[in-house]
């Protein structure tokens, strides 16, 4: 599957927070949302999603609740808590800084050194 990138460990949490920040979702929904917002560029191991979700719930960043999915299945929905929202902003900012710095470094030309 060319054009797809494996996610670095730790970044999955950030992506989940981002996906959920756009509205409450169940696990499969989160998976689809990440695919959608990354335009299919990111590959997520489906099962690996759930340990990450449990971790975020334990950290108090997500709040789970049972509801009904579009196709009338009982499903567990996750939404962002205020702490989760704060964390998302912070980590997104961190990420952008990091990416900018690395991009800058990689774009350096010989005469700039």
């Amino acid at each position: 599957m060319a054009g797809q990138a494996q996610i670095l460990p730790g970044n999955l949490d950030l992506l989940i927070l981002k996906a959920v920040s756009l509205g409450p979702l169940h696990g499969y929904g989160i998976l689809l949302r990440i695919e959608q917002i990354s335009r299919g560029a990111l590959l997520i191991e489906q099962g690996a999603l759930y340990p990450a979700l449990f971790r975020l719930v334990r950290q108090g960043l997500l709040k789970p609740s049972w509801g009904t999915s579009d196709n009338n299945r009982r499903a567990k929905f996750y939404e962002l808590t205020p702490a989760g929202r704060k964390r998302l902003h912070q980590e997104a900012a961190d990420w952008n800084r990091l990416v900018a710095a690395i991009a800058l470094a990689l774009g350096a030309e010989a005469e700039e050194v």
Binding site: Y50, V57, K76
Partner: protein, 885 residues
């Protein structure tokens, strides 16, 4: 916030465990169903869509396990599962569990039993307020050894109590035996004369009545007594109206004013305390070191600060009273530490031995557990494949070994109630009554806490060792293999190392046990020359009131000895100040040798002083080396003579015969007369801790009578049958005299070395346990190695290997392990036994035979343990072996 959320998650996961498990299942199912819906929409048939969805999802069980771990509290929940699993394993392999629990229980139990002694004797010998501030003070003349010789001159004690720099308060006391009662009812009673503040210094109060008042230290106003709880219960059947009762002590009437609490037995278990009422002359005495001193340090004064201050104080006394105090230095030692002198080395040794037994038990169990791990490799591999992480596996093993350790701890604690009681009662009360805290040896909170800590510690160490050992399981090979699991060379080395360690511990323990037992036998032998089984001993103290002066004392004793000797069947009767094996040090004295320059006090020669009647040497079969024994002619009117020991002759007249030389007892300026050495008599070992070759001077009783003596009688038949006869003889002369310590000399000898015997027995038990455990270890490793090599052995047999060669192979393996263990153990046990020789006062001496014998025993046991596996190897059928696996 995060913390609260974690706690909530933990709590809910614990409270709603099954519901949460259900939720997790449902959530994952929903995910897969949703995915399958999408796949179906893209054109796949439903069954194919569901299959694809499941494959895409990945290992469900693994992710579930990860989810559980993320949720928190999983360890608690899974711990319960593990404990239940462990219990099932325990009951499933019952044989293994029994061996494991017994092995550990032996190790833990040994430690609990010895610790109960350490706890009672070293940590809590007394129950006084602020025990660490209590010190014993004595004047050291440079010649006194042991703690029987820790006394202070009355005037010096008085001066010290007004000194006030170090001490909050100073009490003085003197242990005395009294004749209690009057007429035919007379009985001996051990008592203590104490200053009025004695009980305040110790900070104890009576359960009934009052303490002494300072006014009662005046001679004449001192006829009051405080009695022990035991006195009240034994002699007066706990009579509630005891206070105010009158008792007769040494012919004087005393009224009882107080009763002390049950566990109060300071300085030794005595029956009563009376005021120490000294006359002004006695109080002013600086020549006799006659009183014992106990001080309570001021707040903030550390016990180790007292040395310099007391040295200064002694120097001042020396300047003020050069005649009496020259060469004396006051010293102080914490009450708690005074006891250590005697007991610390013994119990440290025992505790160390018990620790060795536990280590050995651990090594043994570790080996058993590791061996079983091999059988469980498939299980471990399966657990790993299903998502059990290293931590999770570790928890499983840890809870299993902890279960063993806890079970062993429970067994050990249950058994310790009986074994500790046995320990306490196995030494005759005659000896242990002098050991403060002995009756406090019991399984108390401290011992329980110690035992539980040891059990848990053992379980943890074993569990962690197992985790480390089992952590690298090769998944693919193990799961594919159909036969038993395999052992890597590294793991086999670990197990060999464990066996080597066991052999080492066993050897060290056996050598220590052997040396101790040999020491005991040697000690018992030392006294054998006296033929103690046919000697009766009786202690007598004449009261000052009825025997104020020498003539009356001499008359009483000479009459007693004459009458005792004329009893039918009595071969010899004699008197001695301090009979052998009394567990009391001899009095020591300075002396000067005529013709040699008089030396300053402290540098002058010194010797033990004994007073004896002529027949003493015949009574104990002590040989004559040169000159003559003491004789009846050496009476009060004759020239002053003494006889001395060979130790003294060799030290002060080397290469010369001391007979005819004259010495003077006391320091250079003493007023004692010159006495002539009349003879040299054979060496006598006074007590087990005294060297045989101490210099001893024997003075004839007729020339230096004193009130307290021991009567010795050699009898033709059983000496015990003369007890009533000697009582009657004494009663005929003076009905007011109480006889104490009536026993055969053999009983006395046995009592005096009882502690060594107990040590020998305990060490022997530890050594045997060690031997059994290490042979189990050798057997275990070799059986497994044979089982592992069945195929190899089969091939060897098929290729024509002879059975003797095979036998040699297996037995050689056992011998190699044992030999390595012995090679390591040899220097270790040499060091330890050298420490033992210096620690326990010459009881133990090096003995190459013991080393060689136990090395041989261990090698033989190893061969024996290897024999069964070797036979099994020889009986291997090549066909079966080759098909094996």
């Amino acid at each position: 916030m995060r913390f609260v959320a974690s706690l909530r998650s933990l709590a809910s996961s614990l409270l709603h465990r099954s519901q949460i498990e259900g939720d997790l299942d449902e959530e994952l199912r929903a995910h897969i169903a949703n995915r399958a819906d999408d796949l179906e929409r893209s054109g796949l048939p439903r069954t194919e869509a569901e299959r694809r969805a499941r494959i895409e999802f990945g290992g469900q069980e693994r992710y579930k396990e990860e989810c559980r771990e993320e949720r928190g509290g999983v360890w608690l929940a899974s711990l319960w599962t593990d404990v239940r699993f462990g219990l099932r394993m325990l009951s499933k392999s019952r044989g293994f569990s029994v061996v494991a629990v017994i092995t550990l229980a032996l190790g833990i139990g040994a430690n609990a039993a010895i610790f109960s002694m350490v706890n009672a004797l070293l940590l809590h010998p007394y129950h006084f307020r602020d025990l660490d501030a209590l010190v014993r003070v004595w004047e050291d003349r440079g010649i006194d050894e042991g703690y029987d010789a820790r006394y202070v001159a009355p005037a010096d004690a008085k001066e010290l109590s007004t000194h006030g720099e170090l001490f909050e308060s100073i009490a003085t006391y003197e242990i005395r035996s009294f004749s209690l009662g009057a007429g035919s009812e007379i009985q001996p009673a051990l008592g203590c004369r104490v200053t009025a503040n004695f009980f305040d210094v110790l900070s104890v109060s009576p359960t009934a009545g009052r303490l002494f008042s300072p006014g009662e230290e005046q001679p004449g106003d001192d006829q009051v007594a405080i009695v022990s709880d035991g006195f009240w219960k034994r002699r007066y059947a706990a009579d509630p109206h005891l206070l105010g009762e009158k008792i007769s002590l040494n012919g004087r009437m005393y009224s009882i004013v107080g009763i002390m609490p049950k566990d109060f037995d300071y300085p030794v278990p005595v029956e009563l305390w009376v005021p120490l009422a000294l006359t002004p002359e006695e109080q002013a005495d600086r020549t006799q070191l006659s009183l014992q001193v106990l001080g309570r340090l001021k707040d903030g004064v550390m016990p180790d600060q007292t040395g310099a201050a007391l040295a200064n104080f002694s120097r001042r006394l020396e300047q003020d009273y050069p005649k009496t105090n020259a060469g004396r230095t006051m010293k102080a030692l914490q009450l708690r530490k005074e006891l250590y002198v005697f007991t610390l080395p013994l119990f440290l040794l025992l505790q160390a031995a018990a620790g060795f037994v536990l280590l050995l038990a651990c090594a043994n169990l570790a080996n058993l557990v590791f061996a079983r791990m091999i059988g469980r490799q498939r299980e471990i591999a399966l657990r790993t494949t299903l998502g059990a992480g290293r931590g999770r596996l570790g928890q499983l093993f840890l809870s299993e070994t902890l279960l063993y350790a806890i079970a062993a701890g429970i067994v050990a604690i249950t058994a310790s109630f009986a074994s500790v009681k046995m320990l306490r009662t196995s030494i005759p009360a005659g000896w242990t009554k002098w050991v403060p805290g002995w009756n406090g040896i019991r399984v108390d909170g401290n011992v329980l806490a110690f035992t539980i800590a040891v059990a848990l510690g053992t379980g943890l160490v074993l569990g962690l060792a197992t985790v480390l050992h089992a952590s690298h399981v090769e998944l693919n090979n193990t799961l594919k293999e159909t036969g038993a699991g395999s052992v890597t060379p590294a793991k086999r080395r670990v197990r060999s190392a464990l066996v080597i360690a066991q052999v080492m511990f066993a050897f060290v323990l056996l050598v220590c046990a052997g040396l101790t037992i040999q020491g005991f036998v040697r000690l018992a032998d030392i006294y054998r020359g006296f033929q103690p089984a046919s000697v009766l001993r009786v202690e007598i103290s004449l009261p000052e009131k009825t025997y104020p002066e020498t003539v009356k004392i001499t008359n009483f004793y000479q009459q007693l000895v004459r009458d005792a000797a004329s009893l039918p069947g009595v071969q010899h009767a004699s008197l001695i100040t301090n009979a052998p094996a009394s567990n009391v040090d001899n009095e020591t004295t300075f002396f000067n040798i005529e013709g040699q320059p008089a030396l300053k006090a402290g540098e002058a020669p010194s010797a033990d002083l004994q007073i004896a009647t002529p027949d003493f040497f015949a009574t104990l079969k002590i040989s004559l080396i040169s000159g003559r024994f003491l004789s009846e002619a050496d009476n009060i009117d004759a020239a002053r003579v003494v006889v001395i020991s060979p130790g003294m002759a060799q030290r002060f007249w080397p290469g010369d015969d001391p007979v005819g030389h004259r010495i003077k007892l006391g320091t250079a300026n003493s007023v004692e007369p010159w006495v002539t050495i009349a003879g040299v008599v054979g060496d006598v070992r006074q007590n087990w801790w005294n060297p045989t070759t101490r210099p001893v001077i024997y003075k004839p009783f007729a020339q230096s009578a004193q009130r307290s003596m021991t009567l010795l009688m050699r009898t033709q038949t059983n000496p015990a049958s003369y007890v009533s006869a000697i009582r009657e003889v004494s009663r005929q002369i003076d009905p007011g005299i109480a006889l104490r310590g009536v026993a055969t000399l053999e009983e006395e000898v046995n009592d005096s070395i009882a502690i060594i015997r107990i040590m020998g027995i305990l060490m022997g038990i530890f050594g045997l346990v060690a031997l059994v455990l290490s042979s189990i270890g050798v057997y275990g490793v070799l059986s497994e190695s044979v089982a592992q090599r069945t195929r190899e052995i089969g091939i060897r047999l098929a290729l024509g290997a002879e059975t003797p060669a095979l036998m040699k192979l297996i037995l050689g393996h056992a011998l190699k392990l044992t030999a390595i263990g012995l090679a390591i153990a040899l220097p270790v046990s040499l060091t330890i036994s050298r420490a033992m020789t210096s620690l326990i006062f010459g009881v133990v001496s090096m003995n190459a035979t013991i080393f060689a014998a136990f090395a041989a025993v261990l090698l033989l046991v190893a061969l024996g343990a290897a024999y069964l596996p070797a036979r099994r190897a020889m009986n291997v059928d090549p066909m079966v072996a080759l098909r094996y696996e």
